[in-house]
Symmetry: C2
Subunit: 585 residues, 2 copies
């Protein structure tokens, strides 16, 4: 990539990011007071298994001889978005506010790119190629460590990452928790049998702990370390201290992300995501297990209606609850983050028959909906449901077994906008009269980039008096569909035939080769079986190739009785190729 | 790669491999009796730390519900030679003699190539792309497991691999032990601080335990499992049993290999190997540590002469020992595998001043030679030392600090050939009279492919009466050189500048930007420091780029006082680029 190319990307990303931050500014501001309390942030002890070894709980001032051999690093992957790096003795310099690699006599480095700043070594977040998420480090000879430096080493394994937007539960699950689970599995930071995490999280994003800290902590068993805890400002600038991690894995895998937020093209599903229902279910089952959630029971015949307290309201919520209960014969529970801790919401949704809500972050809980349930997503006036599909994409992943319906308010009369609100909450008074008019009269928000399109913000923050009869229709449709839902999960990996068996050669007339079908073909549900056969003179380089339909063939021409031949055979199932077997004839 | 391409490769590799096997046939045959004793193979208990958890020591017949969720796999890398895969519940079917992936409701697969048999998923050996080293597996739905199947599961972590040639100590170190060490470090199977292995080795090569089994076992703490132990033939063919591994890492990294054996081009150094003295020293220090080896002492002033018992003899060995001792004033110890266990040889060489020997596998121990020592390699008549350089390449890796000299017998009179020996040991009586004559009269073996060139075999198996005066000269030269040897190990990774500090902007006249040198530049020993600077209108897309020599510059033209600009600066050291810092002006 030429310098000019990626610089342009950086510029775009910076612009988009600064807008994105504005979008959440309000929430951020309200939580700033937490920042001061960080040092004392207490995570419920009963929910978190602390480090097995108490000695690992806190960094220790240690003899710097521990670092004497220097740092080491191993990376795999070909660019910053798919690279994973693991370090030994990765340190953070409090004076320079940079990570440093201590070059020492035992320093090993494999897999580093030639230039780790083109544009970055590793993305700290699963959101790819975003310039606020870049990780890099500087070099320092280990001999340059002064005697007066203080050194603290966190022993054991750590996973260093950025939360992308820790105040939004949709982002928490999509960008952080699901990627964390699969990153840990892939990096050997979690036992693959019982999913027991063995690494401590380190959040480098600089955000305060946030309201979902308990969720990270209880899923991954250790209290995460926040950036503030390793970048203490209390040291004088002359006195450098190092905070080091004995083992540090850096970066989050993005193989499970299914949605992109519109930084470069309008938001939408990630093309060719590798995620299927299988990965979602393995993850949600892990989450429920870590939470000690109860099993669902037959009596769990209820609908969960996501309630919002202050914005994007359902104006006729009470009527909706009553009539949906009447119309479906199911109980309707309303729930939101104001009433329930997130863990209770997860447990509630996990056993529910239907999840209903206005388009919004809590609908991410639809990943917990059981097979045979339904998600009904409601959209305010002038918002096209086809353009905003993080939840639809999720529940429609192959094999999820969850019906999806969206309801869209087509009637401006049933909509209440808030032109006087703050711009981040859909206010438009800061715009010119003409711009305001254009927004107020448009019938659909055109597709747009993230994150501060005022047209989108105005419309998405409208309150809505929903049309209950059409919602009842959609519910009825969806409930019928989900009763029939099958959950055969097509694996996203190729399934291939085994070797052919009993390959046998007969030289009576020409060359007769026979074999048996691969032993696992009976499990492949296919009748597209063919065979690829190659022959070669044992002492020569010439070979011939054939595609055959049956488990044997006699080659009468072109083969001499006096010569010996090597024959390879493999099975083809459609375009999928099995391994070769061979025999000398 | 087209089918025809890799098939050609396979054909070549098969041909080369079958020749290679012949080369070692003699040794193999003499060890066949071991095969029967395998089940009872006892590895010295005092040297091996058994599994921490006794319950993991042996596979257990288990409830097959352990496998009910199916297998999972994660691979990274782009082809079979650089790919690493890790499995959960990887099973071996005794009936079908294939590894199987149990497709179940919890099966996860990330990073599989579209066709794992083009030509293979993973190389089991560090010797790349060799068709005897290919790993693949078949699929089986977990539901297809019959009730009558017996299932044994090895709990915990395992590393599955092929030894390439376990009867040859050069191959053991180059192909297996060194790659194992770095594969384990990279795969999280070994703590990066204290190098404590946490995985058990599984050798799929099918060779018997072999004389170096103790070495594998004591370095990696567990008794390795042999292929025979998981492919028992005692079960009836109708009754399938599965042997499964709870966690299986498959494949050996080849990043540390430095020599290729001439399968496709004549043997020689691996081009652009990533190995430096640093990786060798970290490994040998690990080996010595695991063996509990003593520290070297000042009194260790001796030469080790590698002795061969039956082939490639030094005919005047006694004179050589006496005169070298006289000429150098150092003790001369003769040692070979017949007299010493390999561990004692390692300890001996680790503290020696000089290692002398005829070209042969024990010279691999030169990796243990201390800094400031010397390797003197002797070659029989008509063998060009420049064509056979595994040991020279090793000790001349950047930073090894070991002097190298080779001595070549130029005189046919000092050479005794063995034309009547077995072909694998240099006999030529199976050849035509003319071929024999050609070999006997040639003055140098031309470069050739592996592994059964009779010219090479005849010459390399000659005994030699070495020329002691010229050897004393080489010793004197080498000892002088190695006293001066420096051991500054140039790291094989790029060292780059940190961010520029204190970037500052002044808008008094035009645009004045200043900054400080990167804080780590003082450690980089360079005076090639330049800066790359980019400016962009905050609200625009146009940017300008500059390369500057100093830590500041005033741009007087082209910048408007009314506009704000974003400025990026980074440091360039030669072609190495640091990270950007930015400021808004």
């Amino acid at each position: 990539m030429a310098v000019s190319d990626y610089l342009a990307l950086i510029v775009m990303a910076i612009a988009a990011w600064s807008q994105y931050r504005c979008y959440f500014l309000q929430e951020e501001l309200s939580r700033c007071s937490e920042k001061e309390e960080l040092g004392n942030k207490v995570v419920s002890q009963s929910e978190i298994q602390e480090h097995l070894d108490d000695g690992e709980e806190d960094p220790q001032i240690v003899d710097r001889r521990l670092l004497a051999g220097g740092s080491s690093v191993w990376c795999s992957g070909s660019n910053n978005t798919d690279r994973m790096c693991q370090f030994h003795n990765l340190c953070f310099s409090q004076k320079h506010k940079e990570f440093v690699f201590l070059s020492g006599s035992k320093s090993i480095a494999f897999g580093l790119p030639e230039n780790p700043f083109d544009p970055a070594l590793v993305d700290l977040s699963s959101v790819p190629n975003h310039n606020t998420q870049y990780f890099g480090f500087s070099h320092l000879p280990v001999a340059a460590l002064e005697d007066t430096n203080t050194v603290a080493v966190f022993r054991g394994k750590h996973l260093l990452m950025n939360r992308f937007n820790p105040s939004n539960i949709m982002h928490v699950f999509h960008d952080d928790l699901l990627p964390l689970f699969y990153t840990m599995l892939q990096s050997g930071l979690m036992a693959k049998g019982d999913f027991k995490p063995t690494a401590r999280l380190v959040f480098l994003d600089g955000y305060p702990a946030g309201e979902f800290m308990d969720l990270y902590a209880s899923l991954f068993n250790y209290r995460p370390i926040l950036r503030d805890e390793i970048t203490s400002d209390s040291d004088s600038a002359d006195q450098d201290s190092l905070v080091c991690f004995e083992e540090a894995f850096v970066g989050l895998s993005n193989v499970t992300t299914w949605y992109q937020y519109g930084f470069q093209v309008p938001q939408g599903p990630v093309p060719n995501t590798l995620l299927t229902a299988r990965e979602v279910r393995v993850f949600t089952s892990f989450v429920r297990n870590q939470m000690g959630a109860r099993r669902c029971e037959a009596s769990d015949d209820y609908i969960v209606l996501i309630k919002r307290e202050s914005t994007r309201l359902i104006l006729n919520e009470m009527d909706l609850v009553t009539l949906v209960a009447q119309g479906t014969g199911l109980r309707v529970l309303t729930a939101g983050l104001e009433d329930y801790p997130i863990k209770d919401l997860i447990e509630l949704v996990s056993c529910s028959k239907v999840l209903i809500g206005m388009h919004g972050s809590l609908l991410i809980l639809s990943m917990f909906l059981p097979v045979g349930s339904m998600l009904l997503e409601l959209f305010p006036y002038a918002i096209n449901p086809d353009y905003y599909t993080p939840y639809k994409t999720l529940v429609q992943l192959p094999g999820m077994g969850v019906a999806y319906r969206s309801w869209r308010n087509w009637s401006p009369d049933r909509s209440v906008g808030h032109p006087d609100a703050l711009p981040a909450h859909g206010g438009i008074r800061h715009l010119s009269r003409q711009e305001q008019k254009q927004i107020l009269t448009s019938q659909e928000v055109p597709q747009h980039l993230c994150c501060s399109n005022p047209d989108w913000l105005y419309r998405i923050y409208q309150d809505t008096a929903v049309d209950i009869p059409s919602i009842l229709n959609l519910l009825s449709e969806g409930l019928q569909e989900c009763q029939q839902s099958r959950t055969e999960i097509a694996p996203h990996f190729p399934v291939f035939p085994s070797k052919v068996g009993g390959i046998h050669c007969d030289r009576v007339k020409g060359l007769r080769v026979s074999w048996q079908r691969p032993w696992n073909i009976e499990y492949m549900n296919t009748n597209e079986v063919r065979y690829e056969l190659w022959t070669q003179e044992t002492d020569g380089d010439d070979y011939k190739a054939y595609i055959l339909q049956l488990e044997g063939y006699t080659f009468s021409e072109g083969y001499e009785d006096s010569k010996s031949y090597r024959v390879w055979v493999r099975c083809l199932v459609g375009s999928i190729k099995g391994p070769f077997s061979s025999v000398v004839c």
